[in-house]
């Protein structure tokens, strides 16, 4: 046996790795990866933008939201929904990467590293939420076009609300995607669950005039409160008396916290199944 010229491999000290640095590291990676993927960036902004402009203008003046102070045309009404659509699409992109990454990808390395599973949740969900919120906030650039005026307070609250929506949707996506095998199954979920979730959140039609049972489903949908909170902030004059901003925001915050908690639980479960 050859004599060893270097020291034996050092056995690392038994200190734990900690959560903050790895989580921040994964967070940063999410953001960097997204913006290096040119086509995705364009797709995520362009589709909702196009959707908004085309549908909004298509409806033109044939739609008048019945609200206290005057009526809105559809372009204005739909703006909020388009914003949440951007947030949703970005969150979905992050969640696809959870599935893709895990069997063949960087996530494998994370799974065998001496870090708490929570790091994965934090990294992915925070990363995804930051991206989704960021894209949503960029969309606010178009808000003045439809007559939205911001005060400092309302702007900050708007960004915060967008962030909470982004966070809760990303966490929800994580919960769904984590146990999944293939992106095919996830596509089904997107079409059968996530998109209807968005459709029934007050994005496309107001809860005030929806028929009974749809209105009921909309009330049960946490995303409705997020959308309503945004509408309250962007168009304070035409807020329906149904939900106050405080109520909507409160429910949104609670929903976000619950989603995050469940995401933690899901990632920390260790079973005898592969790569859990």
């Amino acid at each position: 046996m050859a004599t060893r010229t270097e020291a034996l491999p050092n056995v690392p000290a038994a200190t734990s790795v900690g959560t903050l640095i790895p989580a921040l590291s994964l967070w940063k990676r999410e953001v960097v990866r997204f913006y290096r993927n040119r086509s995705r960036v364009i797709g995520v902004i362009a589709s909702p933008l196009l959707f908004w402009l085309v549908i909004g203008s298509g409806f033109g003046s044939s739609f008048r939201a019945n609200s206290a102070a005057g009526s809105q045309n559809y372009l204005t009404f739909f703006y909020t929904g388009a914003l949440t659509m951007i947030v949703l699409f970005t969150a979905i992109f992050t969640m696809m990467s959870v599935i893709e990454d895990r069997n063949e990808g960087f996530l494998l390395s994370v799974l065998v590293a001496p870090v708490n599973r929570s790091v994965i949740v934090l990294g992915k969900v925070l990363g995804g939420a930051t991206l989704a919120a960021g894209q949503g906030i960029v969309f606010l650039v178009f808000a003045p076009l439809i007559g939205v005026h911001f005060t400092l307070v309302s702007f900050v609250l708007t960004c915060l609300t967008i962030f909470l929506i982004a966070f809760s949707l990303t966490a929800l996506g994580f919960i769904i995607a984590w146990p999944m095998d293939s992106t095919q199954a996830f596509h089904a979920i997107i079409n059968l669950f996530l998109i209807p979730l968005w459709l029934l959140s007050g994005a496309m039609f107001s809860i005030a005039h929806a028929s009974r049972w749809i209105a009921l489903v909309m009330r049960l949908n946490p995303l409705t409160y997020g959308t309503e909170a945004l509408r309250d902030l962007l168009f304070p004059a035409s807020a329906p008396a149904d939900f106050t901003f405080a109520t909507s925001f409160g429910i949104l915050a609670v929903f976000t916290a619950i989603m995050f908690g469940v995401a933690f639980l899901v990632a920390n479960r260790r079973t005898t199944k592969p790569a859990a």
Binding site: P9, P12, I21, V32, F106, L108, V112, P114, V119, T272
Partner: protein, 342 residues
């Protein structure tokens, strides 16, 4: 290192009194109702290159997943550097570096960025991390491409980056799952050379899973798995020496009948494997004229060969390494594996 060539205790050869780096004890695992591992036990000693050889479905990938803490076994224990893989996974993870068969680098990031993120996962940071990244990249020969996106790398270079990822935190144990998949022969040689250097200069204990006999030959010691069972354990040389002599294969129109008659005539054990009569005989070349003369015109072809690892496999299991069904359904097995891998 003294080696005891006691034929009954061939599987118990161990260097002096060195504690095992890895101890696998009665490991059992099932996927649904399919037994992947059925009570496998072995030990791995410091600074050796240990191979897990087996065809698809033999359980070596399952073993790999359990050792790398990706999965909990249904029963049994895997102890690495004194830590139980199931109960103390984080301690184990600090000691092991893992190189997966599936690509695990982020192709959108540069080589250095990939290593930086991995370093953070192991508690490395700052200047120390930067120094290690440079050192590791230089060892695998990628230092000049450190700031280029991994998607611009060739297959061999990507594999080297994977290796760098596994070695960044200087683990005592390195686990590799079919590491030469998709590499050309030059790259394979380079990889094995590098593994030898790791073992000799740094005392890293290396475990490699493989289904290639040529690779298994290069391992210091081998565990051969078949259908979830450990069927052989020892150095390649010892295992092959078990086979009493050369391996002779006879092709004939009616192998079954020929096998019986050869057995009766010469008093040797024969078997029909894959449509050929197979027997083991010392000094095989002397046997050739005897058997050909004994059965004139019947023997269509005859092969004499030194025993290979596949012969060891056949000797222990009674069937070939790749049976017809296995070879044909290799893709099906891979698909199945992907589904179960989840």
């Amino acid at each position: 290192m003294t080696v005891a060539l006691n034929t009954t205790a061939l599987s118990e050869v161990r260097p002096a009194t060195q504690p095992a780096v890895i101890s696998v004890q009665h490991l059992r695992h099932v996927y649904g109702d399919r037994k992947a591992l059925d009570g496998v036990s072995f030990e791995v000693y410091p600074a050796e290159i240990f191979g897990l050889l087996g065809p698809n479905g033999s359980g070596k990938t399952t073993m790999f997943r359990i050792l790398s803490t990706l999965m909990l076994p249904v029963d049994g224990r895997a102890v690495i550097m004194g830590f139980d893989a199931a109960r103390q996974p984080d301690q184990v993870r600090k000691q092991i570096g893992v190189v997966f068969q599936a690509p695990s680098i982020d192709v959108k990031l540069t080589a250095a960025e990939n290593l930086r993120h991995v370093g953070h996962l192991y508690g490395l940071k700052g200047k120390d991390l930067s120094a290690r990244i440079n050192e590791t990249l230089s060892r695998v020969g990628l230092l000049d491409r450190a700031n280029e996106p991994a998607e611009t790398f060739s297959g061999g270079m990507q594999r080297r980056l994977e290796l760098a990822k596994g070695l960044l935190h200087r683990p005592a144990v390195l686990l590799l799952d079919e590491p030469t998949t998709g590499l050309d022969p030059g790259a394979r040689r380079d990889l094995w050379q590098y593994l030898s250097i790791l073992r000799d200069e740094q005392g890293v204990t290396i475990i490699v899973t493989t289904h290639l006999m040529e690779e298994a030959e290069r391992c210091g010691r081998l565990a051969i798995l078949s259908e979830g069972h450990l069927v052989a354990l020892g150095t390649p040389t010892e295992l092959k020496q078990e086979i009493g002599g050369d391996v002779i294969l006879l092709e004939a129109k009616d192998p079954e009948s020929l096998a019986k008659r050869v057995s009766a005539r010469f008093g040797v054990e024969t078997a029909v494997i894959d449509g050929k009569v197979r027997l083991e005989r010392e000094q095989g070349h002397r046997f050739v004229p005897d058997v050909v003369e004994a059965f004139p015109g019947e023997i269509e072809s005859l092969t004499v060969a030194k025993p290979t690892l596949e012969d060891v496999f056949i000797h222990r299991t009674g069937h070939r390494f790749w049976t017809e069904d296995q070879a044909g359904s290799e893709t099906a097995a891979k698909k199945d594996k992907k589904k179960k891998k989840h």
